[in-house]
Symmetry: C2
Subunit: 432 residues, 2 copies
């Protein structure tokens, strides 16, 4: 379909949802993508651009003619334009901004003045609001006559005379109440506002925690400046999850399946270098015991068992801890109890696997002292793994680092080193 020129392509794309068109573009390779942009420029409108991956947007926007770009962004709401341009380079940003009507341009520039990943960037500035003393009837008449309502809104925000939000009523309650009912009598019980500087991740978790649908955003003077809706919060939650998962695996946080080879290398290389360094340190530890290995070659075969079991157990407790830190379920008030639990789990696993490996050493390798060394090292490393799995992310979090980012390397380095050192050290004492 891609090779031949056609308005058939436009006809094909037309009924699709912008998100699906974006997915389709993401699945094409570079050449087909350029062909598509030339053949069916009108299919790539602002909505499609918003749905595209950041990395691809950087590639697609320079390929679009200026007037095509202007056409594309004209109908977007302010928060979508902000989302679109915030990670573009300055020249591309200018090109998009120039295409906007003056008033929208001011709104977008104002939003870009807020810090990255803050409420100020996430919110839309179009808000349906009403004075706190209005009745349902007045509100309906106002909404009917108002030309500049947002595309989608779920609450009417009540503001005091100084524009501070004091509550919000769901449209459902407004529609099902009589015209005489006062708005302030039908406001929702749960009313939470965010500051423009609040972190978008915290906001997304609050939306999930309190089942919010939309929430007002206030500036430093407590005045209403915008509103955040749950679909944006859901998107942020989704992104934060992906980042946590990718960071835990030592991959750049914005990695996607459609990245180029070069981008992929760039995202993964740094952590592999760190790993290369730490595992060479572990090799130095093994090197200390060359006499033991020369004397009993089987220890060389069995030392990865102790290290690997520690690595697996450490990764298990680490993952639970990182997730709990992200959801604020692991706090200083229960950290001690969690550490105690991990200690017991480590001890239990350690003794079970010690028994199994003692049997493997004794019967599989015909050396009961080797079995004893394996058992003792296994208990040591399983306990260390369980504790490191909690302590490392908790400490990183306390020190202000992202626990997902560096924990994995720290924990597996620890379990490798402790695994090798304890097994080879104990084997040296017992076997030689």
């Amino acid at each position: 379909i891609e090779a031949e020129d056609a308005p058939a392509l436009e006809a094909l794309l037309d009924p699709l949802h912008p998100a699906d068109i974006a997915d389709l573009i993401e699945q094409l390779d570079g050449r087909d993508r350029r062909a598509l942009l030339e053949l069916a420029p009108s299919a790539v409108d602002g909505d499609v651009l918003s749905e595209l991956d950041e990395n691809l947007r950087d590639a697609v926007i320079p390929q679009m003619a200026p007037e095509q770009l202007a056409e594309a962004v004209r109908d977007l709401e302010s928060d979508d334009v902000v989302d679109l341009v915030e990670y573009l380079d300055t020249a591309q940003q200018e090109a998009v901004l120039d295409a906007l009507p003056a008033s929208d341009r001011v709104a977008v520039e104002k939003a870009l003045a807020y810090p990255e990943e803050s409420a100020g960037r996430l919110m839309q500035v179009e808000v349906a609001r009403a004075p706190e003393h209005w009745s349902v009837g007045e509100a309906i008449d106002f909404l009917r006559s108002s030309p500049t309502l947002p595309d989608q809104f779920y609450h009417l925000v009540l503001v005091d005379p100084r524009m501070r939000p004091v509550g919000q009523a769901t449209l459902g309650r407004i529609l099902s109440s009589g015209r005489d009912a006062l708005l302030k009598d039908i406001v929702e019980d749960t009313f939470i506002t965010f500051k423009v500087t609040d972190d978008e991740g915290d906001i997304a978790r609050a939306f999930n925690q309190y089942h919010l649908i939309s929430s007002p955003v206030v500036d430093a003077n407590e005045r209403l400046v915008g509103v955040i809706t749950i679909d944006d919060a859901m998107n942020v939650l989704d992104e934060e999850h992906a980042e946590d998962m990718l960071r835990l695996a030592g991959v750049g946080e914005s990695a996607t399946i459609s990245d180029s080879t070069f981008e992929t290398v760039k995202q993964r290389f740094p952590w592999l270098i760190v790993n290369l360094f730490t595992v060479n340190l572990a090799a130095l530890i093994v090197g200390l015991f060359d006499h033991t290995i020369a004397a009993v070659v089987a220890v060389a075969a069995l030392m990865p068992v102790v290290a690997s079991m520690g690595g697996s157990a450490g990764t298990q407790s680490l993952t639970v801890a990182v997730r709990a830190l992200a959801t604020h379920d692991l706090t200083s008030s229960n950290a001690l109890r969690v550490i105690r639990r991990e200690l017991f789990v480590g001890l239990f696993n350690g003794f079970v696997f010690a028994a199994i490996m003692a049997a493997v050493g004794t019967f599989g390798y015909g050396n009961s002292l080797l079995g004893l060394s394996l058992a003792l090292a296994m208990i040591t490393n399983m306990v260390v793994a369980a504790l490191a799995g909690v302590l490392v992310p908790v400490l990183l979090d306390k020190l202000g680092f992202d626990p997902a980012l560096a924990s994995g390397t720290f924990v597996t380095t620890t379990t490798d080193m402790v695994g090798f050192f304890s097994f080879l050290g104990i084997a040296t004492l017992i076997l030689l």
Copy 2:
């Protein structure tokens, strides 16, 4: 605060959001939790129960008196009751159901008849709907006089005479249109319905993909039976993410930071046993080369370097692939391109790390043939790691298994075995 008896406790809990009370209960240990339930039974209402972790709910519900439980669940909507009871054992489920009014009980039992994790369990049966030919004015009059509207709703669903949904209008559009406007003229462009049997994970991703707020659910005859709202979808998305992350690390999918020691062991033990088995297989491979190790002891120290680098690189591509499979960004149409990219990334990383390790072998260990063996093995294992990281999850997915569940073990087992075998094999050929 917990030790002393007090109505002060109730006063303290009263202003808190149910989700916060639930978090608080999750942070208490078993004894304090029982004390809280006895001291302030009224604080633990249905909303708090819904917010509690599944595992804790099992523990808390038997501790509540039947009338206390009845009181707690009476005010919940049908989907919340379903969510509450679906994982309870039969006796507890009966106790909760008995506490419900007859009509609610029927709705809940009907929902429980749908498969687990399906739209039927997730939806609420209370729907705001209207005949397709109504005007805005008729709709408003109907909503005002209707006694059984859902607590929260965002759309009015239009149905044909056979109760099949044909479109939906946002409350915002209804409120801002004149009374004479026809509902069917103001319906939303994007209109997606789900079947009662659809998987909740797919639904959550569709909500995120298409920015849905609420969507009708239809039965096998295309008739409207309920509605799913974005807050439930967001919750599902959050849970699915947590499950993916935990499964990747080999932890039971429902693991939380407040699980007991026994539950924690139960969740983690199976994968550790699998790992113990596979790593002992790897040890057997090492054992094949005992002559090589006895001759050049340094290979024992360096073999974990090759294996560990492969494990890290494999985990990186694995994580990106699992995430892309979950979001349906990795499909058969781009799988080949992704595999090709991983191959290049693996080759590039392999050559770079081969060069570094050749230097380490030559200068660090004073043996250039050892360096050459390291380099060749490193290239081999990095390519295998990159390919296994994509192929294993893709194949598991094709075979109908959850790619997050078993990929990690498969990939690290592969990289361990290939790492040991290639390095020791090459070293045997070159060095002996």
